[in-house]
């Protein structure tokens, strides 16, 4: 390993950034960045949301042009005017939001924009399909059919298509932006194998991730960005998790999952034999005041579907819901809200926020009745509440409450969604992946906030794909598989093994019988 590293450090970098800076309007997003990637190296890039990682990636991939500094490819100065230029120079990017065309096939997507041609400029489909096959095979993806439409593939499969697409451009450097954010454990393992095989072929990889175990398993070097500055670049052997986290946030994180003791009160939500479609089948549970009920399960186990049914987005087809002991019918989110439910959805960009509107306008959106008892909006009251919420939740926005939320970092956007729902003064708060795509600092803040809310008597349902989070934060854990409850585990008994076993168990009914 170390001799390998020494050998690598002698290899000249394929791409090098020197003194790169970039501003948007008045705001300096990147300051004097120096960074390089060598062939066959996995270079992890760490940083909180808003640290400047995305901007740096976009400069490397030609989407943004730097204001100052130099970029070199194999020692030659280079300027990219577009993503096409970067592709041509051998730099490809796999973004977090996969950018494939769902209605086209795997082969069509891989070669989109640079199809192999026959005479008269006709597309050579045979060559395209064979090329796609070869690329996928080289990634050990023999199970993927090149004629399948993208829409029918899983996230992990789509990601492999994206990687094949990058390779079809003969990429020498592959930038991967949080590639494992929405993958299951099994797919993560497989992705890591793919990344290692690319490395073995001499492809340099920029690996952006928040997940420490992956970074330590894969990376050769690691760079940390903070507030637009490159704080440190070091060999992975010289780094440990605590150091990296403190470099990243500029302070030490005391405790990641601080669910404190809360007084568990009377039941507020009583669900019995709830059904909707294939993924919500005969679900029963009780939620009490001051309690955090974690919902664990694999992707596609019906966790989010259960939340959508509770919140009236896909209303239940049968079963009973009682709120504060009273049987209720929830057919729309509006009814759910009026009954004291709040739902912080999984996809904050699409479902949680109106990105073009300001923090102020987003915060009042679910509680317009409170700032407009009649027809007219009380703008002064709205602003007062917004200023208060922004301070209370520690939302960092440089232009204050009138900044469009689309300009905020992921963690701050998530705080706005949570704050928006707290404005409705709910009794029951459903959080769907509350810390996905959120940096370590904001994550700790969100966990502390949940703890605090539970202590004040709020009942919380938290859906999460991260086992440590579920186990650390929950008083009880409801485990789902295939649309059914396969386990209800108390805090005392919750370990990765017990929860993990329930996640793949068939049904609970036998056990109960």
């Amino acid at each position: 390993m170390s001799s390998n590293l020494e050998e690598q450090s002698r290899t000249p970098p394929f791409v090098r950034l020197a003194g790169i800076s970039k501003s948007f309007g008045q705001v300096k997003v990147l300051k004097d960045i120096s960074f390089d990637v060598r062939p066959g190296e996995i270079h992890a890039l760490l940083g909180e949301n808003g640290a400047g990682k995305s901007t740096m990636i976009k400069i490397l991939s030609g989407l943004h042009q730097p204001d100052g500094g130099r970029m070199e490819i194999e020692g030659q100065p280079m300027r990219f005017a577009s993503a096409r230029d970067a592709n041509a120079a051998g730099i490809a990017t796999v973004y977090q939001e996969l950018l494939l065309f769902p209605e086209l096939t795997v082969a069509e997507n891989i070669f989109l924009g640079h199809y192999p041609r026959k005479a008269m400029g006709r597309i050579d489909w045979t060559a395209a399909r064979a090329g796609a096959r070869a690329l996928l095979d080289s990634l050990d993806c023999h199970d993927l059919d090149v004629d399948t439409r993208i829409a029918t593939l899983s996230v992990a499969q789509r990601q492999r298509v994206e990687i094949a697409k990058a390779l079809s451009h003969k990429a020498r450097i592959l930038i991967m932006d949080e590639p494992t954010a929405s993958l299951t454990e099994k797919d993560v393992t497989r992705l890591m194998e793919v990344v290692r095989s690319l490395k073995a072929r001499g492809v340099g990889i920029v690996y952006v991730s928040h997940r420490m175990p992956e970074i330590f398993a894969l990376a050769d070097r690691v760079s940390v960005l903070r507030d637009g500055m490159m704080i440190d670049t070091r060999a992975i052997a010289d780094a440990d998790e605590a150091t990296l986290v403190s470099l990243m946030v500029g302070r030490s994180i005391e405790q990641l999952f601080p669910k404190g003791e809360a007084k568990i009160g009377e039941p507020v939500l009583d669900v019995s034999r709830l059904n909707h479609g294939r993924l919500v089948r005969d679900i029963s549970f009780t939620l009490k005041r001051g309690e955090v009920l974690g919902i664990a399960g694999l992707v596609g186990s019906g966790r989010t579907e259960l939340a959508l049914t509770l919140f009236g987005i896909t209303p239940a087809t049968s079963g009973e819901i009682r709120v504060m002991g009273k049987p209720v019918s929830i057919r729309t989110p509006r009814q759910a809200r009026d009954l004291g439910l709040a739902y912080v959805p999984e996809d904050r960009g699409l479902q949680g926020l109106v990105k073009s509107m300001t923090i102020n306008e987003n915060l009042s959106m679910a509680a317009l009745d409170r700032i407009a008892p009649g027809l007219f909006l009380n703008f002064a009251e709205e602003a007062r509440r917004a200023v208060d919420a922004v301070r209370r939740l520690g939302v960092r926005a440089r232009a204050g409450i009138h900044q469009p939320v689309g300009e905020l970092s992921g963690g701050n956007q998530q705080k706005v969604v949570i704050a928006k729902w707290l404005e409705t003064r709910p009794d029951i708060l459903i959080l769907d992946e509350p810390t996905r795509g959120v940096d370590v600092g904001a994550k700790a803040e969100i966990h502390a906030m949940m703890s605090d809310l539970a202590a004040k008597g709020l009942a919380i349902i938290m859906i999460s794909s991260e086992l440590p989070e579920v186990i650390g934060m929950s008083d009880r854990i409801l485990v789902m598989n295939n649309g059914q409850v396969t386990g209800m585990i108390d805090r005392a008994d919750a370990t990765p093994e017990t929860v993990g076993a329930a996640m793949t168990a068939q049904t609970k009914s036998k056990e109960a019988a």
Binding site: I313, T332, P333, R334, A336, R337, D338, Y343, P345, L350, Q351, G352, L353, V354, K355, S356, M357, E361, S364, M365, A366, L368, A372, L375, F376, L377, F379, K420, T424
Partner: protein, 311 residues
């Protein structure tokens, strides 16, 4: 918000320059009588365009307004002449039917999830067909004199219908900028899913907006009849395009989520003064159409450029 104001400021400056330039082209243009008369001619498109602004901000479109105008005009004549209702009642009833036509648009769009473009394209044909079927190609004339006050008379020296347009515009501006409904309209246009997830009454708001659009077109229909003293089934043909042009020229995003009533009003003024001023200056109608087309492209490029600078 700042960006919207910038678009409107630029357009207002264009309008001023245009008015000055046209005033130099023809001595008849910048006279009180001519300008007031242009206001009279602008009212029907204006009423429709103001509510079209709402529709487009929600991310929708209403192509059926011209047909609703025609149907309302025909029904006013038929209710009065053939059914023998008092004219005021006939006009009121016709407006009610026109408003209902708008409600049907909203209902079809929200209940069955039909894209607004398709739904209102269908009702564009449907309502026009009804108007033609009911009228049987006969026109209705000979309305009582008091009725012409609406379309041809003056109030305090200003055309009667211009007062209606002014009141309508003020109410619409206030509604859009300062009320819950206005806020919901912007939110729905910018991100309908998030608006729904936030518990906003998405369908109810959309139905209300299309119903209001039907009402505006119907009101414009009655004013139209009063202005031209007759009723024909082809009235209002192509009106939807004039209204949409004014809205888009006024800076409202065709993708929804952005726009304002004041922008639409400036857009209307620009179009009307171009049409009138150029014809006074002896330029043919085709030339004017080309110029309006070019201005529209210019406006869209400007919006895009302003957006990009922000992004």
């Amino acid at each position: 918000m700042r960006m919207l104001l910038r678009h409107e400021t630029i357009l207002a400056l264009v309008a001023v320059v245009l008015l000055v330039a046209l005033a130099f082209q023809s001595s008849q243009f910048f006279t009180g009588a001519n300008l007031l008369n242009q206001g009279r001619l602008m009212t029907e498109v204006g009423l429709v365009a103001i509510i079209m602004t709402f529709v487009i901000i929600t991310g929708g479109i209403d192509l059926s307004v011209g047909s609703i105008l025609g149907l309302t005009a025909i029904l006013t004549g038929v209710f009065w002449q053939n059914l023998g209702l008092p004219l005021a009642a006939a006009a009121g009833l016709a407006i009610a039917v026109g408003t209902f036509c708008g409600f049907v648009n909203g209902f079809v769009i929200t209940r069955f999830g039909v894209p607004p473009l398709i739904a209102t394209l269908a009702t564009l044909a449907l309502y026009r067909g009804l108007a033609e079927g009911i009228s049987q190609a006969r026109s209705v004339r000979g309305y009582p004199d008091w009725f012409y006050v609406l379309g041809q008379g003056n109030l305090f020296g200003v055309p009667t219908q211009l007062w209606i347009l002014i009141v309508f515009a003020i109410l619409a501006s206030v509604l859009l900028a300062t009320t819950r409904i206005g806020r919901s309209i912007y939110a729905i246009g910018a991100n309908e899913v998030a608006a729904f997830f936030s518990g906003l009454p998405v369908n109810r708001t959309k139905i209300a907006v299309y119903t209001a659009s039907g009402f505006a077109a119907a009101l414009a229909g009655v004013i139209f009849v009063s202005r031209v003293s007759t009723t024909r089934s082809d009235m209002g043909t192509g009106l939807e395009l004039d209204a949409i042009t004014a809205v888009v020229l006024g800076g409202t995003s065709i993708y929804g989520g952005r726009g304002s009533v004041i922008g639409t009003l400036i857009g209307l003024v620009v179009i009307q003064s171009l049409k009138n001023g150029l014809s006074l200056a002896g330029i043919k109608a085709e030339g004017t159409a080309v110029l309006i087309g070019l201005m529209l492209i210019g406006a869209i490029l400007m919006t895009t450029a302003l957006n990009r600078r922000r992004a």
